[in-house]
Structures are given as structure tokens and as C-alpha cells.
């Protein structure tokens, strides 16, 4: 057979519409993969730049001494832009009666390199987010400072020796969470005014921050260059380490997005397999005729191989274009709803699309077509002769391995891949071994049922093997959709649980014991809810098991035990949110010198359960034995402590109290009254930080929902392909039933029952697979706690039955409104 004839046959096939179905499946597969992966890529790069916002730069060089000019020049020569910042606590003075300890941040032109500095002309006025900073000679104050200092716009204040004019209010800094200089409210000034203040002297607590921005390669090359040169008190902050909670969120979001992309690959493969099998089945007779006319097996293989190659090329190009259009349209359509400005997608999605198309063609579309070469020409004489052994086990094995490789390559995560494979294996294992048994059992049940049920269940059993395969495909598609929904819900649920809407957003420190009633009365009066008051005593761990620990300055390198200073507290019970890892908690009336350590702290000082520690509190020294090791949830907004004692041990030492509380934005002026009632307390304001975090989490959650939507559409398409794969046999049987006089009600009822039973069973299998995959993903990938999702066990079968039932009957609706003879001729 010449390639010219192959072209002719291909074009004739194309005209018949059969190839169109295969091409449609391929285009769908490629476009979903390209669409999801490019959408994911764009979201990922956007989320990465979103996390850069928390540094106000792509990288920050933090130093206790001024950053060398040579380093700045080197950074700029490597193509990075720079901006210098200086932070320190100091006093701001309006007049003799109005002064406040403030956290000063001096910035230079270009700040921030990433994200926006938000400010307003009036303390709580309209927010401006354009790129400007206070000019030389001017300051912007946190809104609360206007009241504390009793100043308004245009007034002068003193910072050290410099007299500066108030020209605005600071409303939001991108790096508020990472650039903290003391506990006071913010005062933002120009770095050019620093020399005039005269406040920075040798020994001052100052943090210099060199912000750097540029492409990733320039940032990493400068990091490599500068890291060996870093001295004591100098470090590099990168996006990865800037904000653990946000990173954690973004890491998990990324894991989810990659999971979604991998699922798109599996769905694509399933769609292609179904379409190709149907194509193969419909072409058995065609090939038999060709062979009876003298076509040889290799010519048949060449014809279909050639057709597939052409289809693959067309499908890849069209699929990539459609996928690109889908994500572009998606982004266009969603416009302002999109959580972040989408970044570039790069070429990887197209490459993924091409490789997916090639793998799908070779491992999923080709095996059913290659088997066509084995079709017996005898079937032109005898309709009962088909292709024996139409799909070999090694075809499934090769296909399975190729999809595992593709998922692994795509997700870059063995854990994600294995989790999904575990779920799919459960579906397939249960499906193939149990489905046929259940189907044949169904017939026995059907024997006692009415005629519609009997016919339907007999139909299911008659096509047992095909139905088992179809059920597994349905179950896989449903499982992937359920899995993504479950993981999305638990991720978002956990994020929201971490930052509940009523989480405390202020910490109060340095409350003297005699001030406790004053504070409690004040909060009661103001209607402010607080957490419990925690006693807090500063102390130092000196030795472990009589071995004196070296001081911090005597030790070089990480991981060497050293003396640590920490805030101690006492508690009758294990603090809320803490988990006991080792040892036991003491009784409330226990007066023995026990101590409980946080796990990381215990590592730092090299202490374990049962070790005896010497500690110093003020001038006193005491001995205590480690009674337990705890895990502390640092992400909670509660006061947390490294070291806890029994009440009777620590109560005798002088100490202060701390607490946390929640203020609504319009309650902020309460802080001014608080400071005037209790002038010695320190308040740490975390409300802006929490608001920033919540914004990011909301944005990421919305992004996940968008991707889930795309996957649900892809899953629905696979279900449609699955229904279509058995359409011919069902149409033929239904047409025969009608020809024999069956009423539409019986035919439709039979179809409903068949598809409802298939869908419900597939949904049940999917629930089992989802539980396994969700367990693996949540415990191994997302490091979350896993609890079985019991609702799956009814949601799976019910949604499976409804979706498959509706799609199935809808696809077969022609059987009741088309004359049976027309249908019989067609199929």
C-alpha cells in the first residue's frame, strides 16, 4: 500500500467522521493538559511573585552593620536593582508631653521593589498605592501615632536631632511581616535623613536591609557570590524563607496545582483509550473487508499508523492552540476576579502537551489500532468472528507505566504520583475483581425483579467484560474529580482553621502582676475579648546534666548546643494547641522541679527527657528535670512558650504577664487609651500581618477552585467518552427491543437502570480510591492530618449514578425518537 493510498484512505476516513472522534479526544486531551498546565504555570509564577511581596524584593541582604558599597556595586553589575533600608527602634517626640517609642523604617528610592507601599494623606483617609516614599525632611506615621503624639498633617516632630514634617500615614507595607524593628508603631522616613538624626551610634540596635530585585538567575548568582562573604549578624533572606506560613500555603497550593495537572494527564489518557477502542471496534469489519480484498496485515498497520501519526500531529497543534486559548480566555474572562496578576507560562506547557500527545498516541491509541491488523477477513462471511485477544495485558502495563512516568515528570513529585496511583490501583483492583461478580450477582437479583430490571441487569451481565472496563474508567474519572474536591476542601479548611476569623491579632507584653485587674477591667469596659493571661519570667538555661553549655558567642556553626535565654511560664495543664511528644504532664498540685521543653528548643540546648537542667532566673539559680517534650503550633496566634514549669515552682519568682487579644479595625483607637492607662505595657500589632496572610490564602483558595473547575470539565468529557464507547451495542439492542415491540418506557427504563447501576458502582469504587489517594496525599504530600471523608461513600455512588445515568440516557435518546430500522442500519 503506497503512502498516496494511505493519504486517500485517511481523507476518506476523515470524511466518514470516525477519525474526527479520535481527533476530538486527542484535541481534548492535549488542550486540557496544555490549558491546565499553562494556567497553573501562570498562577505559579504569579504566586511566586506574590510571595516576593512579603520581602518587598526578590531577595534581601540583612546586616547589623552598614552594607558594603562594593556589594551594592556587584549586585548592580549583575543586573539587579537595589534599594537600601534601615530599621531601628527610637523615640519620636512631638512635645514634652507627647512622645512615643516607635519602630523606625528609613527607605530609599525604589522601595518597595516588589509589592506596594500603601499610604494616605490623612490617618485613616483614602489609601494611595502609587510608588512614592517620604521625601527628605518628611515622615509618614502609623495612624495610631497621630493620636499618641497629638500631631496632624504638616506638624513637625523630632527623631533624634532631626526635625521632620508629618506628611502622610503609613497604611500598609509589603514587608511588614519580615521587617520588624521593635514593637512600637511604624514611623517611615527617608534614608537621607538618617545622618541628621544622629541616633545611629556604634552599638545601636540597627538593621540594614539591602533589597535586591531581578530575574531568578541573577538573584541566585548574586546569592552564590555573597553568601561566602557574609559575616556575623549578616544573612540573606529569600522568598523561600521569608514567611513560613505563606510559604507553607504556597507550597501546598503548588502541590495541589501539580496534582491537578497530573490528573489532567490521566484523564487525557483515559479519553484517548476510550475513543481509540471505539474506533478500533468500529473498524474491525472495515479491516476485514480490506483484507478480503487482499490488504496485508502490515499494510493495515501502516495505514493506521500513518493515520495516527497525522492525527497526532494535527491533534497536538490544534490541542496546544485550543489549550492556550482556554487559559487565555479563562484569564480574560475572569479578569479582576483572578487572585493575582498572571505571570508568563513559558514553553513547558506546550512541551507537556506534545509529550502527552505522543505518549497517548503510542501507548493508548495505538494498541487497539495495531490489533486491527489481526482482524480476520473471515468476519466478512461470519459476523461472529472478531479479534481474539483484542487488548493484551502488556498493553495496559506499558500504558500504565507511561502514564506514571508522565505524571512524575509533570508533577516533579514521586509522592503525588504514588498517591494518585495508589488510588487508581484500588479502583482498578476492586473494579476488575469485584465488578463482574457484582454484575452477575445483579442478574440473580434481577431474576426476582420486574421486567425492566430483569432486562437491564441481564444486559449488564451480558456485556460483563466491557461493562467492567467501562465502570473502571467511570470510577477513575469520578475518583479524580472527588479527589481534587476533597483535597481542595481540606486544604482550604485547614488554612482557614489556622487563621480563624476571630484569631487574636494583638499581643500585650510586660504586664505587672498588680496591673492584671486594671487590664481586665479595661478590656471588659471596652468590650475586647482576650485570651488567658500567661505568666512570663525571663530566664536562662545554663547547663544540662551538670555540663555547662557554651555561650552563644563562643560557638560557631549550627546545631551545637548552647546556652539559651527564653521566656518561662507555668501551667497546670498542657497548653492548648501543644502536643506531648514524650514524657508526662504533671498534676496541678505537683511542687517538684519539673520542666517541659519545646522539641526544637530541647535540641538547641542538647537536652532530652529525664535530663537535669540548671537555670538562672534573675539572680537565683534552680535545678529542674525534663518531664516532657512538647510540639508547639507556632502558627497559632496564641502565646507559646519554649519552657513550662509547674505553677508552684515558678510562681515564687518575680515575673510579668502576657496575653493576646483581638481588635477590629475601628477599635484601633482603644490602643491609645490602653497605653495611657497602662503606660509600661508593650503592644505588638499583628493585625496587618494577619490581614496580608488572609488575603494571600483567599487568593490561593480561589485559584484552586478555578483549576478544580477545569478538571471537573475534563472529567465530564471522559465520562461522555465512556458512555459513547458502548453506544453502538446499546443502540443496537435497544433498536432490536423496539423492533420487537418494546415500548419507549421499557427501553428508556432499561437504559436508565443500566447506567444508574454502572454509575453507582463506579461511584462506590471511586469513593474507595479517593479515600486511599486522599490519605496518601494528605499525610505524605501536604503534611496534614487525615480523617476519612465519610460523606464520600454516599456522594460517590449518588453523583456517579446521576451523572453517568443522565449522560448515558441522553446519549442514547435517539433510540426512542429514531425509527428502529434506521438505527439498525447505522450500527
Amino acid at each position: 500500500m503506497t503512502s498516496g493510498l494511505s493519504w486517500k484512505l485517511l481523507s476518506r476516513e476523515w470524511r466518514s467522521g470516525e477519525l474526527g472522534i479520535l481527533l476530538l479526544a486527542l484535541v481534548m486531551a492535549v488542550s486540557v493538559v496544555v490549558g491546565v498546565s499553562s494556567f497553573v504555570s501562570r498562577l505559579q509564577s504569579a504566586l511566586l511573585s506574590e510571595s516576593a511581596r512579603f520581602l518587598a524584593a526578590d531577595m534581601v541582604l540583612v546586616s547589623r552593620t552598614p552594607v558594603s558599597d562594593e556589594w551594592v556595586q556587584e549586585a548592580e553589575s549583575q543586573g539587579l536593582v537595589t534599594s537600601l533600608g534601615v530599621g531601628f527602634p527610637s523615640m519620636a517626640v512631638a512635645d514634652i508631653d507627647h512622645m512615643a517609642l516607635v519602630s523606625i523604617k528609613a527607605v530609599s528610592t525604589g522601595y518597595p521593589l516588589r509589592g506596594d507601599l500603601r499610604w494616605s494623606r490623612e490617618p485613616y483617609g483614602d489609601v494611595i498605592a502609587e510608588g512614592s516614599i517620604p521625601a527628605v525632611g518628611e515622615v509618614w506615621l502609623a495612624p495610631r501615632l497621630f493620636a499618641l503624639l497629638d500631631v496632624s498633617l504638616g506638624d513637625q516632630i523630632l527623631v533624634g536631632e532631626a526635625e521632620l514634617r508629618v506628611t502622610g500615614a503609613v497604611r500598609g507595607e509589603p514587608d511588614a511581616t519580615t521587617a520588624v524593628f521593635g514593637f512600637g508603631p511604624r514611623l517611615l522616613m527617608n534614608v537621607g535623613d538618617i545622618p541628621a538624626t544622629g541616633v545611629i551610634q556604634p552599638g545601636s540596635r540597627v538593621e540594614y536591609r539591602l533589597l535586591l530585585g531581578g530575574d531568578r538567575s541573577a538573584v541566585s548568582s548574586f546569592t552564590e557570590w555573597v553568601e561566602p562573604l557574609l559575616g556575623q549578624g549578616q544573612r540573606v533572606d529569600s522568598i523561600d524563607g521569608s514567611q513560613p506560613r505563606i510559604n507553607d500555603t504556597l507550597d501546598r497550593a503548588q502541590g495541589f496545582l501539580l496534582l491537578a495537572g497530573s490528573l489532567a494527564v490521566v484523564l487525557a489518557a483515559a479519553a484517548i483509550t476510550l475513543a481509540s477502542r471505539r474506533f478500533g471496534e468500529r473498524h474491525t469489519q472495515y479491516v476485514a473487508i480490506l483484507k478480503s480484498l487482499g490488504a496485508r496485515s502490515w499494510e493495515i498497520s501502516r495505514l493506521y499508523g500513518f493515520s495516527l501519526a497525522v492525527l497526532g500531529a494535527i491533534g497536538t497543534v490544534v490541542g496546544c492552540a485550543v489549550g492556550w486559548a482556554i487559559q487565555a480566555g479563562f484569564i480574560q474572562l475572569l479578569g479582576d476576579l483572578l487572585p493575582v496578576e498572571p505571570g508568563p507560562a513559558g514553553w513547558k506547557p506546550v512541551l507537556i502537551g506534545m509529550v502527552t500527545a505522543a505518549v497517548c498516541m503510542v501507548f493508548f491509541a495505538w494498541p487497539p489500532l495495531r490489533r486491527l491488523g489481526l482482524a480476520s477477513p473471515l468476519s466478512v462471511l461470519r459476523a461472529d468472528v472478531g479479534i481474539a485477544d483484542s487488548q493484551r495485558p502488556q498493553d495496559y502495563l506499558l500504558g500504565g507505566l507511561s502514564i506514571v512516568a508522565l505524571m512524575w515528570w509533570y508533577s516533579g513529585s514521586a509522592a503525588v504520583t504514588l498517591a494518585v496511583i495508589a488510588g487508581l490501583s484500588v479502583v482498578m483492583g476492586l473494579g476488575f475483581f469485584a465488578a463482574r461478580g457484582l454484575l452477575s450477582g445483579g442478574r440473580r437479583v434481577g431474576g426476582f425483579a420486574g421486567s425492566i430490571w430483569r432486562v437491564a441487569l441481564a444486559g449488564l451481565q451480558r456485556r460483563g467484560r466491557a461493562n467492567a472496563l467501562q465502570m473502571v474508567i467511570f470510577a477513575m474519572a469520578i475518583m479524580l474529580m472527588l479527589l481534587l474536591s476533597v483535597v481542595r476542601s481540606s486544604l482550604i479548611g485547614q488554612w482557614q482553621a489556622q487563621l480563624p476569623i476571630d484569631a487574636p491579632n494583638h499581643f500585650l507584653l510586660n504586664l505587672a502582676p498588680e496591673e492584671k485587674p486594671v487590664l481586665e477591667g479595661f478590656f471588659r469596659e471596652q468590650g475586647v475579648a482576650t485570651e488567658a493571661l500567661y505568666p512570663m519570667t525571663r530566664g536562662r538555661i545554663l547547663s544540662v546534666n551538670a555540663e555547662v553549655l557554651p555561650e552563644w558567642r563562643e560557638v560557631e556553626g549550627e546545631g551545637v548546643p548552647r546556652q539559651r535565654e527564653a521566656n518561662f511560664t507555668w501551667s497546670d495543664d498542657l497548653p492548648e494547641g501543644n502536643v506531648l511528644l514524650d514524657g508526662e504532664w504533671w498534676d496541678a498540685d505537683d511542687s517538684r522541679a519539673w520542666i517541659s521543653l519545646e522539641e526544637g528548643f530541647a535540641q538547641d540546648i542538647g537536652a532530652g527527657l529525664g535530663d537535669r537542667l540548671s537555670l538562672r532566673i534573675g539572680a537565683a539559680e534552680l535545678e529542674a528535670q525534663v518531664r516532657s517534650i512538647r510540639k508547639v503550633d507556632w502558627q497559632s496566634m496564641r502565646p507559646n512558650f519554649f519552657v513550662v514549669f509547674p505553677r508552684q515552682v515558678l510562681e515564687q519568682y518575680p515575673g510579668m504577664y502576657m496575653t493576646s487579644f483581638r481588635l477590629l479595625p475601628d477599635q484601633k483607637p482603644v490602643l491609645n487609651q490602653l497605653v495611657s492607662v497602662l503606660p509600661t505595657v508593650t503592644v505588638i500589632e499583628l493585625d496587618i500581618v494577619i490581614r496580608e496572610m488572609r488575603t494571600v490564602i483567599d487568593q490561593v483558595a480561589r485559584a484552586l477552585e478555578l483549576v478544580l473547575g477545569v478538571i471537573l470539565v475534563a472529567g465530564a468529557l471522559v465520562l461522555i467518552s465512556g458512555v459513547r464507547s458502548s453506544l453502538d451495542a446499546r443502540l443496537k439492542e435497544s433498536a432490536l427491543m423496539r423492533a420487537l415491540g418494546a415500548r419507549s418506557r421499557l427501553v428508556l427504563g432499561t437504559l436508565w437502570i443500566e447506567f444508574l447501576v454502572l454509575g453507582a458502582m463506579a461511584g462506590g469504587l471511586a469513593a474507595a480510591g479517593t479515600e486511599v489517594a486522599a490519605w496518601a496525599l494528605q499525610t505524605r504530600v501536604f503534611e496534614m492530618n487525615w480523617t476519612p471523608t465519610l460523606a464520600l461513600w454516599w456522594i460517590g455512588p449518588v453523583t456517579g449514578a446521576l451523572i453517568v445515568g443522565t449522560l448515558g440516557v441522553w446519549s442514547c435518546r435517539r433510540v426512542v425518537n429514531t425509527p428502529p430500522v434506521t438505527l439498525l442500519r447505522e450500527v
Partner: protein
């Protein structure tokens, strides 16, 4: 031309082996026409499939135009069909995606004939379908479809033509016209014709007639 010696065909069933053909001996001279008649299940179609090299026997030997089918593999048997054998089936077996012209062209193209289109058109004109060249099988009547199948069978100018119940799906009048056409073309091309039929009138028009009963054959 066609020689069959001690041909056996056995298939395995749940109840044990089933002998469909039990030692068939047969010889048909070049250019002769032969009818194989018999009741349903007597083994007629099985014999036809074996003669055309579309199936392999359990025993015995078949020679077609001097070549032993037993020595050929499936692809070599396909080549033999492409070069020397034509077919007419009861259910026409036209490819629904192809027009009448393309259906007739197909075996010519498979054999690499360069002017396939002209030959196909010429044969379609001969069977009276010159006006229906671009029609698809679904738009043709049963008789017209069978005429396309006959044109397809003769277009390659085969040495042997096998016909399986060529009138089985047609009414009497149409069937008669198709038979006329078949014999006319056969006479003109001096093709060896082997046909399987229930139709005694059709069998009577053949030079020889063989009757099959329970896998055995006798000449009448």
C-alpha cells in the same frame, strides 16, 4: 484451477470438538462455474472461507491457481487474493464511508493499479450505475449495492470469483438481474466462479453443482 484434498475443519466448543468439514475432495477446472448448495449449518460458508484463504484448515490441502494455500502465511494469502480472487458477499460488504466509485477503486488501489479511477468508472457503467458513481452505499438500494459489489469483484479481473449467497438479501426480480449480470461478466472474463447458494435456479445455471450435508460434499 481449484483443487481441494481431504479438507478438514474442526472447532472446539464447550461440548467438545465439532467437525464442520469432514474430508472434502473437490476439483474445479479453470473458467468453470460451480455452485455449492446445502442447508444452513452444512459447512458451505466455512468451505468458501477456506477456499479463499481467509481461514486455515485443520487438515487437508487447498491449491488455488496452482499455489498451495497451506504453504502461505496470512499475508501471502492476502496477496494471492489481491492478485487473483474476487468476492461477492450476501451482505454486499461495501465500505459505508466510500462512494460507489471509491469502493470499486479500493482493490485496484490495493494492487497498485495506476488508472484505478477510470477502470472503476468503466465497470460501474457496465453494471448500469454510471449515474451513481458518487453515491454512498446507504443511498443505494440493495440491488444497486450488490451491483457495486459485482463491479468491485470484476474490476481487478480476478482468475477466480467467490460469491456467497449473492442474491440472499435481494428480492426475486432484483436477484435475477444480479445473476444475469454476474454470469454475463463471468462469461466475458472467463473467470472461475464458485458460488454458495440456497437458490436452486441459480445453482442450475452453473456448470457443476455440489451438495453439502453435515460437512460432507457430493456432486449432483
Amino acid at each position: 484451477m481449484i483443487k481441494v484434498s481431504q479438507l478438514l475443519k474442526t472447532v472446539s466448543t464447550a461440548d467438545g470438538d465439532l467437525n464442520i468439514l469432514r474430508g472434502i475432495d473437490l476439483e474445479i477446472e479453470p473458467g468453470a462455474s460451480a455452485a455449492i448448495v446445502g442447508a444452513s449449518g452444512s459447512g458451505k460458508s466455512t468451505l468458501l472461507g477456506l477456499l479463499a484463504g481467509m481461514d486455515v484448515p485443520s487438515g487437508g490441502e487447498i491449491w488455488l491457481d496452482g499455489e498451495s494455500l497451506n504453504e502461505l502465511d496470512e499475508d501471502q494469502r492476502a496477496r494471492l487474493r489481491a492478485e487473483k480472487v474476487g468476492f461477492v458477499f450476501q451482505s454486499f460488504q461495501l465500505l459505508p464511508a466510500l462512494t460507489a466509485r471509491e469502493n470499486v477503486m479500493l482493490p485496484l488501489e490495493l494492487a497498485g493499479v495506476s488508472d484505478a479511477e477510470q477502470i472503476a468508472e468503466q465497470f460501474l457503467v457496465e453494471v448500469g450505475l454510471g449515474e451513481r458513481l458518487s453515491h454512498y452505499p446507504t443511498t443505494l438500494s440493495g440491488g444497486e449495492q450488490q451491483r457495486v459489489a459485482i463491479a468491485r469483484a470484476f474490476a481487478r479481473q480476478p482468475r477466480i470469483l467467490f460469491a456467497d449467497e449473492p442474491t440472499g438479501n435481494l428480492d426475486t426480480r432484483t436477484g435475477e438481474r444480479v445473476i444475469e449480470l454476474l454470469f454475463e461478466l463471468n462469461g466475458r472474463a472467463s473467470t472461475t466462479l464458485v458460488l454458495v447458494t440456497h437458490d436452486e435456479r441459480l445453482a442450475a445455471r452453473c456448470d457443476r453443482c455440489f451438495a453439502m450435508t453435515a460437512g460432507e460434499i457430493v456432486e449432483r
